[in-house]
């Protein structure tokens, strides 16, 4: 009877453990870039408030386990960093924050676990594993340090295994100041999943290798202006234009002009922003032409719109 109770208890804990610990997907399936981003966004932008103050295992330094304290009642953003096994995806991590007891815990995920989860791999790989298993579920896009000479797409990754940084990041977008990333990182004072802007200098000098997940379903759609409603009359000389994300768009660019395709009123990159207030629009009832460019992996494409200027 006693043995039966022990076995039942063990089975219960094993099932609970299996239900709330990410050890890999059952099979490697096709997925889109937006799905990868959605998983990353969830782990970066979700907030959590620990049920109880606890200490989370982060890494081992010279044989000593290093923990970080998270306080009950404090709201944090982004899944906590942790090299513990197994790794947590957002659902598991969030659940754990609601039930955790005090003491030393192994919650969260680390940089390669973050990528493994976002890429829906069948197991958690570390940075060394991502390098040694090239050609399996992912492919190298170039040599270590070649970030400047490849064309990265949303959800690609950059990996720097030992003896270099022992870190990896996921590509979000190009921007004028560098490369926007999504990553789980121990960098800086807060060890949480976050977006970063990495310089080419840093990525090249630390020999990050660009890699791409296999079985990506490529979807591309130009962004569309959503406000003000195209074809309507503008309300003043200052107008806030808004657009949807489209799909697979790495950068937006906006023209406003006095002729079709013109940009004599406004002409600038929007990076990944989804709105822009344009001032100095004429107020004499003329036709105003707006062109919204979307940078897709296939190149720049645009949608054209017209408005009637405010007439005072």
């Amino acid at each position: 009877m006693k043995m039966k109770t022990i076995l039942s208890t063990l089975v219960f804990f094993c099932l609970t453990y299996a239900a709330f610990a990410w050890t890999g997907e059952a099979t490697f399936v096709s997925m889109s870039r937006s799905e990868i981003q959605a998983l990353a966004d969830q782990m970066i932008d979700s907030s959590w408030t620990p049920h109880t103050t606890f200490s989370n295992y982060e890494y081992t330094d010279a044989g000593v386990n290093v923990y970080r304290q998270y306080n009950a009642g404090t709201t944090y953003y982004g899944v906590a960093y942790g090299q513990g096994y197994p790794q947590n995806n957002w659902a598991e991590f969030s659940y754990n924050m609601g039930i955790t007891s005090a003491g030393n815990k192994t919650y969260g995920n680390d940089c390669s676990g973050f990528v493994s989860i976002c890429w829906k791999l069948t197991q958690r790989y570390n940075t060394a594993g991502f390098e040694s298993s090239l050609g399996t579920y992912w492919t190298s896009l170039g040599a270590p340090g070649s970030v400047a000479s490849v064309n990265l797409l949303l959800g690609d990754a950059l990996n720097s295994p030992s003896p270099n940084d022992e870190h990896m990041v996921m590509f979000l977008s190009y921007n004028s100041t560098g490369i926007n990333t999504m990553e789980q990182t121990i960098s800086g004072p807060n060890h949480l999943a976050k977006r970063y802007t990495r310089s080419y200098t840093y990525l090249a000098n630390n020999l990050y290798r660009p890699i791409r997940r296999n079985q990506i379903i490529e979807s591309m759609a130009k962004a569309q202006l959503t406000s003000p409603t195209p074809g309507t009359t503008l309300g003043s000389s200052s107008v806030n234009f808004g657009w949807n994300t489209g799909s697979g768009v790495s950068e937006y660019y906006l023209y406003v002009g006095n002729s079709a395709g013109g940009s004599d009123i406004y002409n600038a990159s929007q990076g990944t922003s989804l709105s822009r207030t344009v001032t100095g629009i004429p107020t004499d009832g003329r036709t105003i032409y707006v062109r919204l460019w979307s940078n897709l992996s296939s190149g720049w494409q645009y949608n054209d719109y017209t408005y009637t200027a405010f007439n005072h």
């Binding site: 953003y77 400047a148 940009s263 207030t277 720049w300």
Partner: protein, 359 residues
Amino acid sequence: MPSAKTSPQIYRIRPLLLSVLLIISSILVLWLHQSRTSLVSHLSDSRQTHPQYPVDKVASVAGSFSNPVEIEVQPNTIKAGTIIPYGSGEGQIGIIRGPGGRPVSGPESFAVGADGSIYLADALNHRVLVYSNSGELLRSIRISGIGLADLTVDRKGNIYVYDDAERSLSQFSSDGSLVTKLLVNAADIISRGYVHIVGESVYFANSANSDILIASLRDGVLAAVDLNSDRNSDGIHSATGKVYSIDVTRGQTMQIIVHNDSVNLDEQHFAISLPGILSATYVGEDLKGQFYIQTERSDGTAIALEVQKFDMKGQLLATTRMPETDYALGTIKLLDVGNDGAIVQFLPQNNQAKLQMFQ
């Protein structure tokens, strides 16, 4: 920037004309050429394959990346510098090393004050280290209870700290006592950037060289702004009231728009041809109104970190290449500039950090 100059309709017609109407080909080809020229001219706008950047002036850093003509690169341009050991003691800065012994976490932010002092965020030791513009450690300010993800200073020496875990902005007096703390979880902050103060406004400069207003100063105290309003600016604000919009056509040019007067829409547009350019980041102005832009360029094998210096009229004055770029840690800024025009580099290397000032 590629621009389609072809007319598919003409190409479909031409083989038919050549095979069937050989006798009149010379006349017809001449006619077609004229038609095509005018047709392409008419269609060129709707056939753009890339946004065309506005340009009033075009300058150039002549020569190839590997042998630039106008580059001023000399180690002897170092005006001052200091080596900062890693550790937790006096005059040291904290890092975490990975299993392989390389730094994996540590200081990520620094700022230059109005008097030229340099403020380093020693995040792991929970303090701000203040150095003179000659590299002398002046003081250490204890900052506790908050993550030192980024910092900036105002003219009075107040310190502002952004914590990316709580997404908060805190104001500390120059002795490190907390003045106030705001939550700034704005949905429009979708990239990492740096916080800076211009007048009474506190901006988050994002990775697209655009400012997002995140707070203001009222009677010298940090105050909230309406995070649901449109707070985006088309560029980075400077102390002289100008706003700098900077963009890059990868591998080719850097485009700059200087908004001299946002009310009257007085703007200067110019472009710089920079072979191999990858990025461009506004760094700052000096007291003469000269402005500085950090660029990264590649020749296919190596990446050069440079600073382009412009006069008030947008004339390129000098290009300075940083002699050392072995950043072992990812930092919010690679470089900054002081009021005296000194370029400040905080360089966390494998075994030590360097604080260097270039003139």
